[in-house]
Amino acid sequence: MIILGDNPFFGVNHASVATSKGYFASLKARDWSKAHATMRAALGCGVDHFMVSTHAEAPELLSSMRAEADLRRFSVIPAVPYLYRLNGLVASKGVPGAVLQSMSYGTFARGLAGAASIPASALSGFIAKEVQSVEGLGFPVPFVALQNIFVDLLLGLGQADFISEVARRMAADGRRLVAITMNPLLADRLLDPSIILCTHYNILGYMVQPDLAGFQAWLATTPRTVWAMGIMSSGKAKLAEVIADPSLQRFDSVILGASRPASIEGFAAAYAAQR
């Protein structure tokens, strides 16, 4: 499955400051028409899942999609928590205020009643609140992704069981957890097998951990569901070489950030032909 990524719509580019600035300028102009055109092209290619980070501008984009009947066909995969927004909330309201504002109390209480720990119940409550805001706009939310800075920090602090516990709480609500991680081999070793891993991969080896060969060897043998992001190396990799890479076919899904309709159409056609 191809999943449409949101980075280009929000001025995020991991390989070029200049490109990032260009996208961000169009974002500040509140011009979503280019994003809508790319989304329509995605739907035309059968791409009907959209992963979006829950930063301050996300509700505006989702609302703009809600206003377009055809774009309501997307299922949304929120990537949470957006730590910069959380930081800002803590700075302006303090930790108690931020928690009070960010929590679904029903989910928190159900977590405690279900013998989940207080931290796992709290994070589940936080995730539920984010999910409610997306579902409230009419979009189904079959998966929830945890941001890599959060997952990898927790892994580094020995909190894999905590992530797994949150995944079980989410499964009780009928959703699957996607752990975005830059340390896939470690995450595979430590996390519950039901958790989907989403990780950075591209044929250039850019930000591929532990290294390109090590990653490919692991991918070839792991039974876990794995999604790939960053496969085009922020536009630096060549489409033909990306598609010809045998490892690409090992991923269950790939997240593709595209800023133009032609990009998603070209990739989807080549990807389908190869499969």
Binding site: F10, G11, V12, H14, A15, S16, V17, S20, K21, F24, A25, K28, A91, P119, I149, D152, L153, L155, G156, L157, G158, Q159, F162, M182, N183, L186, N202, L204, G205, Y206, M207, V208, Q209, P210, D211, L212, G214, S233, S234, K236, A237
Partner: protein
């Protein structure tokens, strides 16, 4: 390996997690953290194999350590160094250093010095005479009224304190110690009594001229954007922005090279800094840079 963490805030926990990842969880930690709630949370949640002890004060830390990571507020760095000097084989102290007479076993957390593109440029600057260095930082940190600690001199705020030390570390890395430092202009836009924009210039002891430009009021960018340029005496100019290196008209993106660092948290430079810390026992050059930046920050204050 036994390590002590002084200050379990955001950066402290990030460094601890990073070092755990790089050593594949080969560190047992003692954590000094004044907050009772944070100490309790760590005792409750950290695996037993990871946490030896917690302490509320420096006096409560017992024994010797292979490593001390000091991420308490800057004003407390000196006390931590004093309490642990001779009891820890090496130190990582967050920037700015603000420690009198630090030993060569101290690495200060100027993390951008460990970025692969900066290391390449630094190696070039060490091999060829430098004529000029031009550094720029633009950020969208302050876009409206800035009345908290970040906007006040009494809180240690302002763009020079927040970002200036990073740029100064890059400057000293590329041009060496500074002979003259002049504040060409400052402007307060949204803050109370500290600069939001600043232009600095001067000359290094080695003869290179430099300019530093800082502005954290830029609405047209998403994340802090650096621009680091070195003009060599032979006329060649090489620059990078942490994403791309430009040598004359030729640009190479960091995405076009394999950048695997084994493990990853926050950025290549953080992993590289952790690895550098673990693989070395003395940090003379990096310490000299940190001490020089401290001196320059003192002049600016």
């Amino acid at each position: 390996m036994k390590a002590v963490l002084i200050g379990a805030g955001r950066m402290g926990l990030t460094h601890a997690a990073q070092l755990n990842l790089v050593t594949d969880f080969g560190i047992r930690w003692t954590v000094m953290e004044p907050s009772f709630a944070v100490r309790s949370g760590l005792r409750y949640s950290l695996p037993k194999a990871m946490l030896d002890n917690t302490a509320a004060t420096l006096d409560g830390i017992n024994g010797n350590f292979d490593l001390a990571v000091v991420t308490s507020p800057t004003m407390h760095h000196a006390a931590a160094w004093q309490a642990l000097q001779g009891r820890a084989a090496k130190f990582l102290i967050e920037k700015p250093l603000r420690v009198r007479n630090p030993g060569p076993e101290v690495l200060c957390g100027y993390v951008l010095l460990h970025h692969p593109l900066q290391r390449e440029l630094s190696a070039l600057a060490a091999a060829s005479p430098v004529a000029a260095v031009k550094l720029q930082l633009r950020a969208n940190t302050v876009l409206g009224p800035n009345t908290g600690w970040r906007g006040r001199k009494s809180g240690g705020g302002g763009v020079l304190n927040e970002f200036g030390s990073h740029l100064l570390s890059l400057l000293v890395d590329l041009a060496g110690p500074v002979e003259t430092l002049v504040v060409a202009s400052v402007a307060t836009v949204h803050s109370v009594d500290v600069p939001d924009r600043a232009e600095l210039s001067g000359r290094a002891v080695g003869g290179a001229s430099f300019t530093l430009s800082l502005d954290w009021t830029c609405p047209d960018i998403r994340k802090p954007a650096y621009d680091v340029a070195v003009e060599f005496v032979d006329g060649r100019t090489v620059s990078h922005d942490l994403y791309e290196t430009r040598d004359g008209g030729h640009a190479v993106s960091i995405a076009e090279r394999e950048t695997a660092s084994g493990v990853y948290l926050r950025g290549f430079e953080f992993t590289e800094q952790a690895r550098f810390l673990l693989e070395h026992d003395r940090f003379d050059r990096h310490l000299a840079i940190a001490v020089e930046v401290d001196r320059l920050l003192g002049e600016l204050a």
